[in-house]
Symmetry: C2
Subunit: 221 residues, 2 copies
Amino acid sequence: LIKTEEIWKVYKMGKVDVEALRGISLEIEKGEFLAIMGPSGSGKSTLMNILGCLDTPTRGEYYLEGKDVSSLQDDELALIRNKKIGFVFQSFHLLPRTPALHNVELPLIYAGVGKKERNKLAEKAVEIVGLKERMHHKPNELSGGERQRVAIARAVVNNPSILFADEPTGNLDSKSGEEIMEIFKELHSRQNTIIVVTHDQSIAKMTDRIIKLKDGEVVDD
Amino acid sequence: LIKTEEIWKVYKMGKVDVEALRGISLEIEKGEFLAIMGPSGSGKSTLMNILGCLDTPTRGEYYLEGKDVSSLQDDELALIRNKKIGFVFQSFHLLPRTPALHNVELPLIYAGVGKKERNKLAEKAVEIVGLKERMHHKPNELSGGERQRVAIARAVVNNPSILFADEPTGNLDSKSGEEIMEIFKELHSRQNTIIVVTHDQSIAKMTDRIIKLKDGEVVDD
Ligand SMILES: Nc1ncnc2c1ncn2[C@@H]1O[C@H](COP(=O)(O)OP(=O)(O)OP(=O)(O)O)[C@@H](O)[C@H]1O
Ligand SMILES: Nc1ncnc2c1ncn2[C@@H]1O[C@H](COP(=O)(O)OP(=O)(O)OP(=O)(O)O)[C@@H](O)[C@H]1O
Ligand SMILES: [Mg+2]
Ligand SMILES: [Mg+2]
């Protein structure tokens, strides 16, 4: 499903280069449930953004379902991002001036889903993350963990075949965190691929494979 | 040091009231090191913002060092916030367009510290959170955990007598999290008061007292 060959990501900052990823080669099969771990600053979010087609590598190749992602047209990429991929961002990226429910509806709007159906799907997603009573709140009227759960609901609402979740339980108590993992397991049970960045050992233990990063390289797999 | 009497925080939202805090009465002595825990949405950040003089209760009294905070003048409050209190926000609140080092300098600028001295103190704070090599990066050129550490450095740079840290290790791997707790312990060893909101049991275990919230009330202390 996913194959990377010597992926590098280098940020040029005046005289100094920051090498966020230094030659990542990975293969991920369809239907895997894996965790990416590593110290703060080791390149996890950078890697996730490239795998999720939100960023491009400086060097190296990324093949998604056999296709070289760098050769895809903009509209093909947009379709992949909207229909195939769900992404929970480490910093949530919610629209601040619209209520939680509308934030969750966004992927369905882009997918051209009709108003009645998307309202039903969005409400269902908000309910499974336990936020039914908060769905009309805007993000700044929500707690940190509630915002994180809105971001999760938005990422799963169109039943993505690949879910990327960047530290999805960092703001959650252990009970809420377990509930989120149950949602991910349920998605996984329907043959979807789940990739979770986490610092939490108890979350990583629930996955089938742990990839460890350090200083932009894979040190364990 | 801190005494609250039946603190309530109610958000009016059209027809429905959200009762974020429902009668919190607490006493905290000078020099304590305590944790506040509880489910997502239970009122922890709301309580922290009131204790940190960043928000006011709807009902109830808050006495800081014997003074009723609601009766203080604006300039007295500003002085307390700048000189006595350090605050690590759950969502960091860094200035996006200025480098990490400058973000850390901000409390010192407000305190009227001279350029040479504040540069020295800010660099020292950046160094103890392990970000010396990233101090010229802007927040959007940093990882999630690096931003969190900048927020921590800014909160401790003027040696506050009361440190409020709202989920300071949520984006950190366990090693970085332990290093942050070492910084807090060192601050505590100099007779300062440390109040940490955390979902992490291993962090809470390092404190002397755990206050548990649920649905806006204290359920354990
Ligand atoms: N401005 C607001 N308007 C309406 N409701 C609010 C507002 N701010 C917070 N709330 C609600 O108050 C409750 C408590 O919020 P708070 O941020 O204190 O929770 P928390 O314990 O810090 O949660 P978390 O662990 O998720 O950070 C939440 O249910 C939230 O939805
Ligand atoms: N736009 C940028 N310009 C320069 N350096 C960057 C930029 N974005 C990220 N970096 C650097 O690249 C490194 C990797 O960042 P990344 O966000 O992938 O780390 P991470 O493993 O997700 O960390 P965390 O666990 O703290 O979230 C970091 O050291 C960071 O400072
Ligand atoms: Mg990250
Ligand atoms: Mg909070």
